[in-house]
Symmetry: C2
Subunit: 372 residues, 2 copies
Amino acid sequence: MVVAFLQLRAASKLSGRINASTMMLSRLLGFLVLASAIGLGSAGYRADSVAAAQSDSPTGAAADVLSRTNALPSWNDGPAKKELLYFLWRVTREGGPDFVPADARIAVFDNDGTLWSEQPMYVQAAFAIDRVKTLASQHPDWKNRQPFKGVLEDDMKAVAASGDRELLEVITATHAGITAQEFEHIVTDWIATARHPKTGRPYTDMVYQPMVELLQYLRANSFKTFIVTGGGVDFVRPWAENTYGIPPEQVVGSSGKTKFELRSGRPVLMRLPEVEFVDDKESKPTGIHRFIGRRPILAFGNSDGDLEMLQWTAGGTGARFIGLVHHTDPVREVAYDRRSPIGRLDTALDQATARGWTVVSMKDDWRTVFPR
Amino acid sequence: MVVAFLQLRAASKLSGRINASTMMLSRLLGFLVLASAIGLGSAGYRADSVAAAQSDSPTGAAADVLSRTNALPSWNDGPAKKELLYFLWRVTREGGPDFVPADARIAVFDNDGTLWSEQPMYVQAAFAIDRVKTLASQHPDWKNRQPFKGVLEDDMKAVAASGDRELLEVITATHAGITAQEFEHIVTDWIATARHPKTGRPYTDMVYQPMVELLQYLRANSFKTFIVTGGGVDFVRPWAENTYGIPPEQVVGSSGKTKFELRSGRPVLMRLPEVEFVDDKESKPTGIHRFIGRRPILAFGNSDGDLEMLQWTAGGTGARFIGLVHHTDPVREVAYDRRSPIGRLDTALDQATARGWTVVSMKDDWRTVFPR
């Protein structure tokens, strides 16, 4: 079986022109170069094995918390887990100097690469490709017209050679021109049957078990957990509740415009071929402000696209937890950071070091990567 | 004391040109005609008196529910209360044909005129006027420049004569050019001290006690309650939690754009003088879709601006409750509907009759209007 390994069209080329359509394109469809560069060898996505517990010499409250809890079982007892548990102990201890009332316990998580795998391509890109193939029989002209022709023939070089306007046609064809309800059904059906190209598992099994446990543990400590994703909000909402325990109203993401219409007296929301909001980079804090309306006290990301969200969260007063998932595990997942076109982690990694944010090493800090 | 009675610049004049800026202006600042027309006589806003319980001949489950509950004490035992309790009984009865799982119990409420008083003018308009007066000393030119001059001199005719561009200057001057955090503090301080021009009570005391009880009762029945307001989301959020029990992330509303900036390394969100979203009329369903991501099963409004939200909510499958607050009480509040420039209730009232929605008569259905 020939699997198309796709990757994001070099995001760096786009910096400087923060045009909504361009960003949306780069996010959703500018992924189209054959992906030898990421080094996705045969070792990727091997089954988890229980890693040796990492020993350390904990002291004080953090050690105490760590020794008394059986929370976060898929995390090794290393520094990242300690920092998380210590933070949670501080903000939930009534009467303590860092106590945060339950209703202000807002936690935000990037999705792609933070809660689930974003390699070898964004899952939403795989969705768009599948959708083109599904719709092809209704569009005979696509066989001879780029970029559809390239998508249908798995000729991603041809797709990548297309201009923004042509690529926008692919978004329009796959994401717009139908009602919001129809799109929700399409995503729900697709996510139930689509399989990850390397592991053959459903994409909803390609979530990071330690992060799912963290979400649960935060909620058990009265946190409200939000996704703040550059991906499409309507692509994530249909499965986020079952997969992460995060309801639709707690998903912030990129969106296209919709239009209210009455059709034979029945109200529908039509999905228009217009970008409304691209929730990436400096738009993540504005998205948080717009949708959530208060500053989180915990934020987790994995790439430079999350930097401003992490800065915004860190900039508040009181205790803060700022985390980065660092993809360091070429055996159980994929190792990538500064040079990866998908999920590039460069400036944010430097900032994390400089500011004492918690860098979670997938290889060292996670006992398990994916659910069993 | 001369009190400026202000009202919305005839909303009807604006229909047909649904331009975001124009709608925002009409919503926030196009309120500026002396308001003899609404008939705000000295009888308005008199203290509540316990109304005689309205008798009816209840049958079946609704009567049973009604007889067993002491919920909603500020509602008379009339048809509206019965319909509410019957709906709640249907959607919460496990195993029943209309049962709705807790996580799908989404309820949306308009704010102005539905949860609190919108007469003699939108509270946010009063805020803008006060803000102009507060800032005037920093802007000596305002004394001689419309529409600021008119606002400062309570000469609303002069203000009303200004063009959209001039009125937009007032929004900019009062709502933008500062950080999101600064604006939040300003609103918080203002709402704590400002007083309703007729009753002299804090605006947060001008909320409708029966609706506050309904919000509480819905939450006690595992509903998630949202505000979906044409007013500014950042104007409502600072006080909605204390006043209604609705946290910031459950307020959907109109917004201006914000911009993420680092100032000497500190992240801020600057409020820009640009309209981002006007959450009124056909934008209410799109706002619900964008912010909440699923269709409510209960919606409450009071004006034609809420019609599409009510239609959208009604259009889902399964049990639905669609309510309209009808301002019928000239003694305890204000009586207005089809001809009022603020909170005009005309088409939506006809629709309610035609479709069997619940029209709540403030005079007949509410035992108490305002909190004591």
